[in-house]
Symmetry: C2
Subunit: 122 residues, 2 copies
């Protein structure tokens, strides 16, 4: 299932999308794969060797990353057995902005409430 529309600005009350996206990223092997692909387009076998990861695991995590839209896959025109993985730059940019927008220190407001009562000093 394609879920490439996960990287969007969250609507009011629906942080589930952001959570789902973070969940995808909250995996060491996937971060390693992302890092590797950011360092240059790679094929499955190279990625597996570099990470000492079984091919099916590489395939699994790459499919998750591809579903998120963050990574693109392209079959080689030279040798159809090879598949090249690359970062979707616009999606990465959107992700960056989404995260920066949510975890923004300027959103922090002062003022306390407790049990429905507004507090001033404390």
């Amino acid at each position: 299932m394609k879920e490439s529309d996960q990287i969007q600005k969250p609507r009011e009350g629906t942080l589930s999308q952001l959570a789902a996206l973070l969940k995808i990223l909250a995996e060491p092997n996937r971060l390693l794969l992302l890092e590797r692909i950011m360092a240059g387009v790679q094929c499955n076998c190279d990625l597996g060797n570099a990470l000492s990861l079984a091919p099916n695991l590489v395939s699994h995590h790459l499919s998750v990353l591809c579903d998120s839209g963050l990574v693109d896959a392209r079959r080689s025109e030279d040798d159809g057995r090879w598949i090249f993985y690359s970062i979707n730059e616009s999606k990465l940019k959107a992700l960056n902005e989404l995260l920066a927008g949510f975890f923004d220190v300027s959103r922090i407001q002062s003022g306390s409430t407790c049990c429905g009562k507004k507090l001033t000093g404390e």
Copy 2:
């Protein structure tokens, strides 16, 4: 000086740390709690009411957030039953920079390799 020079290549340790941190954030209720606390310091009961969440669940998720350092807890001097939760601004800033540093489009490199062979055109 290029920006990419400032971003040191993350080692496996820091990558696991990043994954662990993302895992903490990859939870809808915790994002809701964070958002709520960003909108103003809150106590457990208010947070529970606002999110329609059982008190023990609120407590659980808040403890996870507190353990991460992103949220601070302070018992009220006025009424010891109340505990106020607030965003640790410096931690949030550090988180923001960490994420911005990792998911940085300027890290994307061109050039492909496949099965150990460097590719030029393709």
